[in-house]
């Protein structure tokens, strides 16, 4: 991945965390290393095996989607499952699932699409044993892009659900 993009994304991720009060009460227990991962860059060239696969998955707090889709693929499903298992074991934690889209298409339709993505993850988390009263979903549609460029790479990063707890 292009270094410049990576750096700007790291900056934006930091910005998103500071700008979004929704996450201020919920200090991430693990560092977010998901930038440039899953779905955004399928050709990362890194294939080393992690020593702690579960912690690695928990470090990823974004689930990515294809254009105009709310389907969670196998790679992203593993991330959701890891978080669901953690949440099922830690019953005092509440989670917010924030659905986002890229900038293409119309804002109101994207607001609905963002909700559909958040709901898709919500259904999975509930099915894996997290009680309904601990899960909330919210859609921001295309209003809170992480990557500001008007490119395929930026759009792929913006089509996401953020797992916030």
């Amino acid at each position: 991945m292009d270094k410049k993009i990576l750096f700007s994304l790291l900056g934006l991720a930091a910005l998103a965390l500071t700008a979004c009060g929704g996450s201020e009460a919920t200090k991430p227990a693990v560092e977010d290393k998901s930038v440039g991962a899953a779905g955004a860059d399928t050709d990362a060239g890194v294939s080393g095996k992690s020593l702690d696969a579960k912690a690695d998955l928990l470090a990823k707090r974004r689930v990515y989607f294809a254009f105009d889709s709310s389907a969670v693929d196998a790679e992203n499903r593993a991330i959701v499952e890891a978080h669901a298992a953690y949440l099922a074991a830690n019953k005092n934690i509440k989670v917010v699932l924030e659905g986002h889209t890229d900038e293409r298409g119309t804002r109101e339709y994207n607001l609905a699409l963002g909700e559909r993505r958040a709901q898709a993850v919500e259904r999975m988390v509930k099915a894996l044993g997290v009680s309904a009263d601990r899960v909330k979903n919210v859609s921001y549609g295309e209003e809170k892009a992480l990557a500001m460029d008007h490119t395929e790479t930026a759009w792929a990063l913006n089509r996401r659900v953020e797992i916030i707890y």
Partner: protein, 439 residues
């Protein structure tokens, strides 16, 4: 003027609402296509009697209005043989020489109480006949408004259609200060001047919609960190929450008689279109489908509602009666058609049409079912008609920034409206009945 703010859960979110006399960045208009070919008109610099020139050059405002419409070509003042400022000085032969078909003269003179008297006359050069002539006495801060009114009269006398120069546009701006974004819902004159901030927030704002009488805006605000629908009186600044159910509260559209709002709610789990009766906020659900149903738009007669649905797999435009019955699909061409908005005569929809990853403002001619692309820019959004149906205003991306653009319904005239800094988006053209904020 004071605004009643309801208690907010999130202190960070909204900093202020209402008519604040903040210095706001002005939208500047750049005509990108189609300045030639209009009716040749001579607009003579207005005369005056004061020691100092009036605070607004009224003739210049009129000239810019008429040029921007694409239907007039104001002639170069350096070719003028004479410069009449009242009726007695007009020599029609002087104007036939420069090939003007119409002539505008006038004056701005100081009047009692610091006000100004504005007079103008419009002539048909070849018939040697006065077509219109009016006199106004106004405060200095109303001179631009009078200039736009004069432009409307000239436009209507010469084209037979009402002008839209006295209307206003609402839009959302986004500016970055440090690490934060600041969003503003603003209203400006149709030429981008005199912007007023209606609401400012650090969370996104979207979907402003004018009430048919031009006194209120409904819009979506994320100040509670979720999409909630508000209504705000743009004259008094008073605002209230009108829908804050679980899920999405969005896509407001006023019924033509102003008594109801069509809106999108996902309180039952998935986005459906509802009607809200404004007298008592009573809700009626219109759609019932597991797909996304959103972006309602009323036909001008109030009998039908067009909307976006992906019930066929991809977002397409559908139409139903205002009671939710007789749903029919309207668009079949293109992979993605969304956010339709009716023309004033009800014969066309303007919408966003996408194919191969490019999203253009387009027109759907309802009688022939033909879809006509209006632009070749790839990221167009939120198109709507001017109240006289001659222009379509939409949001697009230009030079990496969000800008507004307009295109005449015949595709001949194009303009960009942009801010010096930051993005501008979500344009909504006001109806004709404008209410002037008191000042």
């Amino acid at each position: 003027m004071k605004t009643v703010l309801q208690p907010m859960k999130c202190i960070l979110a909204v900093l202020f609402a209402g008519y604040a006399a903040l210095a706001s960045a002005i939208l500047t208009i750049e005509i990108t296509q189609g300045v030639d070919g209009g009716l040749p008109i001579s607009i003579v610099p207005f005369g005056g009697a004061g020691k100092e020139p009036p605070p607004q050059d009224v003739a210049a405002v009129i000239e810019a209005d008429l040029a921007r419409s694409g239907r007039f070509t104001p002639l170069d003042k350096k070719d003028f043989v004479s410069r009449p400022t009242d009726d007695k000085q007009v020599v029609f032969k002087d104007w036939r020489i420069v090939k003007a078909e119409a002539l505008v003269i006038g004056s701005v003179k100081p009047a009692a109480g610091g006000r100004y008297q504005v007079e103008f006359r419009l002539y048909d050069v070849y018939k040697e006949k006065q077509l219109a002539g009016y006199s106004y006495v106004v405060a200095a801060d109303r001179l631009r408004a009078v200039a736009h009114q004069i432009s409307d009269i000239i436009y209507e006398k010469l084209t037979g259609e009402p002008g839209v120069f006295s209307t206003r546009i609402a839009y959302v701006t986004r500016e970055q200060t440090g690490k934060r974004f600041n969003y503003k819902l603003q209203i400006a004159d149709s030429d981008g001047y005199q912007p007023v901030t209606v609401l400012s927030s650090v969370e996104p704002l979207m979907s402003p919609a004018w009430s048919p009488d031009g006194t209120r805006l409904a819009y979506v605000s994320f100040e509670q960190r979720r999409p909630v629908l508000y209504m705000q009186n743009v004259v008094t600044g008073t605002r209230r929450r009108i829908a804050e159910f679980n899920g999405i509260n969005s896509a407001p559209a006023w019924s033509p008689d102003g008594t109801q709002l069509a809106l999108t709610l996902s309180r039952d789990g998935n986005p459906e279109i509802y009607l809200m009766r404004l007298s008592d906020n009573a809700l009626t659900r219109l759609t019932s489908h597991p797909a996304i149903d959103t972006e309602p738009s009323w036909s001008p007669d109030g009998k039908e509602i067009a909307f976006t649905s992906d019930r066929g797999g991809k977002p397409q435009i559908y139409r139903m009666r205002a009671d939710g019955s007789n749903v029919e699909r309207l668009t079949f061409e293109g992979e993605y058609n969304a956010r339709a908005s009716y023309s004033a005569d009800g014969k066309m929809l303007t919408l966003v049409s996408g194919a191969q990853g490019r999203y253009h403002a387009a027109l759907l001619h309802l009688q022939s079912s033909t879809l006509q692309m209006l632009t070749d820019t790839p990221l167009d959004e939120s198109p709507s008609f001017a109240p006289n149906g001659r222009m379509i205003l939409y949001a697009t991306e230009h030079g990496g920034r969000g800008v507004l653009a307009s295109v005449s319904a015949d595709g001949r005239v194009r303009q960009l409206l942009k801010l010096q800094e930051g993005d501008v988006r979500e344009p909504a053209w006001s109806p004709f009945n404008r209410t002037t904020p008191t000042n």
